[in-house]
Assembly symmetry: C2
């Protein structure tokens, strides 16, 4: 085990109907709130916007709504939000949505107190020293953003997607109300499930600790949980137990818990997948289901023992530790992605195959920003070719 | 999954040598610290006291040392500590020890700001509204006290042991330095391991959620981790990886994480075991290794499916779901306790067998305090007889 610091001060309120507590929770920060969410028409059609407003109004909270967050949240839109927040001076920022909305609000929370541009904060050129309090209401469980210090935002002008972290960005309170997720189409939940699995795989298959049973068993167990939840949701998209379980698993998949003690590790799955979204606006989870098998295949020879254990513990594949068992593990996860309906190749994700060179360069920029030194352009191109 | 709130704001600093950061961390609260620990002679002989003092002195922190904490910490001693803290007015309370020391400090942290007696706070007669900041340095991993809001203290005069909780009692920072545990005798670590397993078993075998894969897989995996760590430590008591892993598992075994979502459940293992310590000052972990098999045997018929899964997932026992497999699971955990050298009966724990009736009454007081309504005296006596 490697040294680490663990700090997750976000309070989680979990359970059906807990969105009704939004007003009570927000009012502890003040009586003026800025609520950030997706397109107005959409959020008004699905019901959770009205529920949020009703709860806030019941506590006499003045609400400024800021609509229009899209997946892979755009820095341009975030800048708009920051300007409004600077002018309106709310007491609390409320994120009503999934990772994109929460990440938007996290960036806004820093941006409001900074004279610098939020993109410069994201790329580390400007330091943020203060942040507004954040309350998150999760409507799409996937990213763990509701319980971590990371925000990932996209800059269309330069086709870049940037992740950055600060303890200032922990939501104070996150409301996890599984009922809000019952109406999500199963395919969209499948994309989220691929995202959750990518988080659990990233640390699990790429860390370099020769003995990490706590972290490895957690990852194996949680991957199995996601798969069981998807099995149930494919049968019944409103299965309350499966919706609740996948929501709580999602939160702990990438909040820093299970990677604690693993030391530094490369994140090739995300390093590669980020570029898919930056280039073609592919949903993050679909990018992950394409990059996971490719990265696993690329590293097969160095990870035979790990993949063999993965095959056995996650898929129940019996067999000796060796290339055959390891490969069976990769095949099994590809089959699972196919079963839940997410893409496992550029073709299936409807991504053009003619920009691999430019994409490899983009991946290398990400690698450099993340301090990943393992991969040169040839290696990245090999991984990308395994995605085709 | 049942509704819950999850909030664990304690920051953990984990790694070999991290005790050297005690001064730096404590100084963020002020320049006068009260350090609470075990007997003076003992802590000065094992080295960690000197390390703590050195780190504090390097930051020019004035230190008042308060020695003499014993296992099953005595309310009388805690009252002394509170009086000293009230007179000396330190800025921070430092716990240097295991669960007993941390629980002592938690009680002191509340007691300092209260006019009421700490026992009255423990039994809920007086409410505490404020607390001193706590920094914990864990020297014996077992109880999760370093990362939860619970304190368990004992009142010899009335032979009672009382657990009570308050968010005010979360340590601000807990330093988990596995190096401090290398010299713990393996038998003592085995007793701690039984305690950790009791935490993982309590929620796992007693909850009533028909489908809780996240919580169940976590418990199963962590129990296996504890067992693997003990296997390694029986061979080499200084095995750094095993020491580190069991330390981190211990922290997450009873900090509220894995029981989140399980709803209310009875805690018969602790309900019964508490009385062993209250009556005969048996170490908490040894009380647990006696009570676990008895409670499992008592509930065998209602828990056949659960125990069968336990047998398979934790011990790899193949077999159909049924009484035979369920019993094999109980036998396996008894065998494991025997292997690591902890008692599995009154006889092995050197407890007299002639006070069962009085003990049953004591257990029922605990049951009442904890809101457990399942057990009458006859049932408790049956469990106690299964402990003989």
């Amino acid at each position: 085990m490697f040294p680490f610091e663990y700090y997750l001060p976000t309070k989680v309120i979990f359970g059906e109907g807990t969105i009704e507590r939004l007003g009570e929770i927000s009012s502890s920060f003040g009586k003026k709130a800025m609520l950030v969410t997706y397109d107005e028409e959409f959020v008004k059609s699905v019901g959770f916007y009205d529920k949020a407003i009703k709860s806030l109004k019941a506590e006499n909270i003045e609400v400024i709504s800021f609509f229009g967050v899209k997946s892979n949240p755009a820095v341009k839109h975030i800048r708009e939000g920051i300007e409004i927040a600077k002018a309106e001076k709310p007491d609390v920022l409320i994120a009503l949505g999934g990772g994109s909305v929460i990440d938007t609000v996290k960036a806004m929370a820093l941006g409001v107190f900074s004279d610098g541009d939020i993109w410069d904060i994201a790329i580390g050129k400007v330091e943020a020293t203060e942040a507004m309090p954040i309350v998150a209401v999760v409507t799409i469980p996937a990213t763990s953003s509701e319980m971590n210090l990371v925000s990932v935002i996209s800059n269309d002008e330069i086709k870049r997607k940037e992740g950055f972290g600060s303890p200032l960005m922990f939501p104070k309170v996150s409301i996890l109300d599984p009922e809000l997720t019952y109406s999500i189409p199963v395919l969209q939940t499948a994309i989220s499930a691929a995202d959750v699995v990518s988080h659990l795989m990233e640390g699990y298959i790429n860390h370099n600790d020769p003995w990490a049973p706590m972290q490895d068993r957690f990852a194996q167990g949680m991957i199995k949980n996601v798969m069981e939840c998807m099995d149930r949701l494919l049968k019944d998209p409103k299965d309350a137990q499966a919706r609740a379980t996948i929501m709580w698993v999602s939160t702990f998949a990438w909040n820093g818990f299970y990677v604690s003690g693993l030391g530094a590790f490369d994140s090739p799955i995300h390093m590669v997948g980020h570029s898919f979204s930056a280039f073609y606006d592919v949903p993050h989870g679909s990018a992950m289901s394409v990059s996971i098998p490719a990265v696993m295949k690329f590293h097969l020879q160095d990870r035979i023992e790990k993949y063999s254990v993965f095959a056995k513990e996650v898929f129940g594949i019996e067999g000796e530790v060796g290339e055959k068992t390891a490969k069976a593990g990769i095949d099994a996860i590809v089959d699972w992605f196919k079963k839940i309906g997410v893409p496992t190749s550029f073709k299936e994700a409807n991504m053009p195959e003619n920009e691999l060179d430019a994409m490899a360069d983009d991946v290398l920029v990400t690698a450099k920003n993340w301090g990943i030194e393992t991969y040169d352009k040839k290696m990245v191109l090999s991984i990308l070719k395994l995605c085709l």
